[in-house]
Each structure stands twice: as C-alpha cells, then as structure tokens.
C-alpha cells in the first residue's frame, strides 16, 4: 500500500515537474513553484528532478542548453530595451 501510494506520489511529482519544464523553469524554480502551489516539499521535488535527469540525460542537457540560449536572448533584449530607454530619455532632454 505504501509503495503504491509512494509510487503514485512520485508519478505526480514527475508530472508536475514536466509541467514546470513546459514553463521553462529550472530545478530551483520548480521546487519553489511546487512547494507554493502543490505543497510539495522542495527536497522531494529536487530528488525527483535529479532522478528524472538521470533517466533522461539527453533531454535535460538539451533543455538546459535551450534555457541558456533563451536566457541570453532575453537578456540581450532587455539590455537593448534599457539602452533604447536611455537613448529616448536623453533625446528628450535635448
């Protein structure tokens, strides 16, 4: 009984982690989200995440690469936006 409910729980956490991945979260963000919204202990999330990573190495590698890429793009965009804002404000002054 315990085993099956444990297994079910792990499956649940697994599913939730996948959803978080769809939101492009990393492990820490996932732990926080699951803890906040689903009352799942971060350590559990973390453990399940690590195990998933072991089982799906390539996926997670690609995932982190894609996240890094998106982060850099978004960072670039943000920087650009800030620069534009600075330019605009300086233009206004003149």
């Amino acid at each position: 009984m315990e085993d099956s409910s444990s297994a079910a729980y792990i499956r649940l956490v697994h599913r939730l982690i996948e959803e978080c991945i769809l939101f492009n979260m990393n492990k820490e963000e996932c732990m926080e989200a699951l803890s906040k919204h689903a009352n799942i202990k971060p350590v559990i999330t973390s453990t399940v995440w690590k195990e998933l990573e072991k089982e799906n190495k390539e996926f997670f590698e690609a995932y982190s690469r894609s996240r890094a890429e998106k982060a850099s793009v978004s960072e670039r965009e943000t920087r650009q936006r800030i620069e534009n804002m600075v330019l605009d404000s300086s233009n206004e002054r003149v």
Partner: protein, 438 residues
C-alpha cells in the same frame, strides 16, 4: 496477374493467359540476345490497338514472361511492382517512392527515341532491384494497375519494327501522370487527344501517341473494377509463377492515382495532434519552431510504418526501407528511426514508450501513456512569449495536474527510478507518503 493475350482477338482471361504463356515462350525462343523486350514485337501483342479500333486485347502478361523482361521495362515494372505490392496505405507511399525512383532512373529516357537502347541499359542497372521487387509483387497484383502500367510500358515499346509509323513513346510514370492529369482535367469521356496534347505540352508526343495511349487508358479503366476480383484469385496463382509481370501492369495506372492519395493517408492519423497542445509553449523560439515543424511531418508517416511489417510474405523488407528512405527525403525527417525501419523515422508514441536513445527534442513530443487516451481537457494555455510565466498560469497548470491525475505526461519523460527516489528521500529523512507540510 498479367497474362499476355498475344493474339488478334480478345480472349477471356483464362484463355489469354494460357495462350500468352505459350506464345511468350515462342517469342522467347527466338530471342538470343539479352534485350528480350526489345526483340519482342509488342505490336503483335497489341494488334487490336489501333487508332481506328476501339477494341483492346486483353492485356495480361504472364508473370514468367515479364520476369524475363528485365530490361527497359524494368523501371516501370519496378514502379508497378511496388504499386502492386501495396495493399492499402502502403500502396500510396510505395507508389510515390517508386515513382520517384523511377523518375530518377527514367529521367533520361523521357521522350527519347532511343528508348530501347537506353532502356536496356537502364534495365540492366536496375535488374536486380526490379527482380527483387518483381518477385515480391506477384502476390497482390492490382490488375488495373498492372494493366495500366503494362499498357504504358508496352505502348512505349510498341513499334520496334515500324508496324506503326509513329515515333516510339516512352510512357514513363511521369509522362503517364501528366497524361492522366490532362485527361481528368478534360473529363475522361471528353478527353480529346489534341486537347490532351495541348495540356501536356510535351513536344515529343504526337496526337497519334496520345490517341493510342488514351484508348488503352480508357479500355483499362473499364476493366479496372471487373478485374479487381480477379486480382485476388490470380495473385495466389502468380505466387508460384514468380515475379514480374504484375509489376508492369501496376506501374502505369495506379501510379498516378496513388501518389496523390499517399500524402493524404497520413491525415487520419493526424487527429491525435490535439494531444500535444502543451507543446505550443515551445512555439516561440527557433529551436522550438523547428521542433514543431518537424513534428507534424512525422505524424503522417509514423502511423504507416506499423502497417508495413504485416505485409504479405512475398513482399520483401529490403525494398521498403528504400522506399521509406526516399519518401522521407521530402520532409527532411530527423534522425531517429522507428522500431520497424532502419531508415530515419522517429519512433513515436504509436509504438513505444519513451525511448532513451532518442534525442531530447523528440522525447518532448512523446506521450508516454497511450493507455490513458486522449485527455478530455487540455492543459491551460501557457504563456507562449513569456520567459517568466505568471504565477496564475503556473498555479492553474499545477492545480490542473493535481486534479486530473489521469492526464498523460505532457513531455513523456522517462519516469524516475522509484528506488532511487525513495532511497534518496529516506536519506533525507522523509517517508514517502505525501507529506502534509511543504
């Protein structure tokens, strides 16, 4: 099942077969060279086919005879063979593939007068291939296909000795396809050779060529339905006779129909697409877009592979991967392959759970729990453009998961090793049963 009805009058099939058999033998007896097909005066075989006459002889060739025609006819044989080989869905893909293959092979021969010469070299080149496919084909001839193919092929071979004072036309699959297109455009009954010629717009063809080809085409169309029943019966018989002939017939007519059907075959299988709405979240970035582009293209083809293995025995596996490989050329399918095929078809959820070896971007598109079926509801729409999703949407998604545990995994990642998780948690001092506090 093609039995050449060699003589000047129409016979019923049985008779035709037998006679053709003997006649074929006679013909062959005279042939000493390798270019059997060239030597055979097909005009004799198709005496009935003149512009003036409306009656076409029973165009059925004995498979054994055709087996020996491993020359210029081969290209058509191959296509028709592959065509015939197919029973249902396969047929279409096969047609496309073989047609492609043939187009490549035949390209040079398009509208060439030296059809026989080039044909024979062609034939020799693909001799082995066609023989292989020919052998496999015998099983399920689509008589209409065979006949049409044969028609076109024999038509091209007509007049080796100037029986008709017309330039020999090589009715390649491509050419025939255009012909059929033109005919259908005009309406089969209304199709006039001169108009067809105009529509096709090919210089090498004369109205004469078109007219005779049209006649054959029409005649065979009439026979199509009637022959279908025969096909099953005869195919069994042909099995013993060995390869070839069926292919020839199959190549001509069905070829043009099936390629058009083929692309649509995948569509019914596309319906499960809504399964994958969660993937829209990836839609924004280039990498993801490429996934999305690739992925729908997989679907049409992936259902088909499972259908292929259960082919009839005579159909040898070897041609199939080749066809599939060629077929896959168009969609630029990525690397992974189905369990059934060596060539690159993704192993999708249809057959399997997540496959560890598959590159990550493919696992993203797999649903692990086919048993669960199609979820009644979709996950809440994700913020596609938002790098930092809102709390509300996260909350919604999570509560959705919590409330509907039967939903399949959106990513289909391979589940964690339970032992590993349990062990780790115990080390952390946590019993497994859902803890009450976060």
């Amino acid at each position: 099942m093609l039995a050449v009805s060699p003589l000047r009058s129409t016979r019923d099939e049985e008779q035709g077969e037998m006679e053709s058999f003997s006649i074929g033998t006679d013909d062959f007896a005279d042939l000493s060279e390798g270019n059997l097909l060239e030597s055979i005066n097909f005009d004799d075989l198709f005496m009935g086919i003149n512009d003036d006459e409306d009656v076409l002889p029973d165009l059925e060739m004995d498979p054994e005879m055709l087996a020996e025609f491993s020359l210029s006819e081969e290209s058509e044989i191959v296509s028709s063979v592959s065509v015939v080989n197919n029973k249902s869905d396969d047929r279409n893909e096969n047609n496309i593939v073989t047609t492609e293959k043939q187009d490549e092979v035949i390209a040079a021969n398009f509208c060439s007068d030296s059809g026989s010469n080039s044909g024979s070299s062609r034939g020799e080149e693909i001799a082995s291939k066609s023989e292989e496919s020919i052998h496999s084909v015998v099983v399920n001839p689509s008589p209409k296909e065979s006949e049409k193919g044969r028609k076109s092929s024999t038509h091209s071979r007509n007049n080796p000795q100037g029986k008709r004072k017309v330039k020999k036309v090589d009715w390649t699959p491509e050419l025939h396809r255009r012909f059929v297109q033109a005919v259908e455009q005009l309406g089969v009954d209304k199709a006039v050779p001169s108009r067809i010629l105009e529509i096709m717009g090919i210089d090498c063809l004369t109205r004469h060529n078109i007219a005779s080809h049209l006649q054959k085409y029409r005649s065979h169309r009439k026979h199509l339905l009637a022959r279908e029943a025969e096909a099953a019966r005869l195919s069994q018989r042909k099995q013993f006779m060995g390869a070839a002939s069926v292919g020839r017939g199959g190549g001509g007519s069905k070829r043009d129909v099936n390629p058009w059907l083929a692309p649509t075959m995948g569509f019914p299988h596309m319906t499960p697409m809504h399964h994958f709405r969660p993937f829209h979240v990836w839609g924004h970035h280039t990498m993801d877009q490429s996934f999305m582009h690739m992925w729908p293209k997989h679907l049409p083809y992936s259902p088909s592979p499972p259908a292929w293995p259960p082919r009839t025995a005579p159909s040898p596996p070897p041609p199939d991967p080749l066809y599939w490989h060629q077929h896959q050329r168009a969609p630029n399918a990525p690397t992974p392959g189905t369990p059934c095929f060596p060539p690159p078809l993704t192993s999708t959820r249809f057959g399997s759970q997540t496959v560890p070896g598959i590159p990550p971007h493919h696992t993203m598109f797999q649903i692990v729990d086919p048993g669960i079926g199609i979820p009644a509801t979709q996950p809440p729409p994700r913020p596609l453009l938002d790098f930092h999703p809102s709390k509300e949407s996260i909350d919604a998604a999570i509560s959705d998961v919590l409330s509907k545990p039967w939903l399949p995994l959106p990513l289909g990642l391979k589940g964690p090793a339970l032992d590993g998780v349990m062990g780790e948690l115990q080390r952390q001092g946590i019993p497994k049963i859902p803890p009450s506090c976060a």
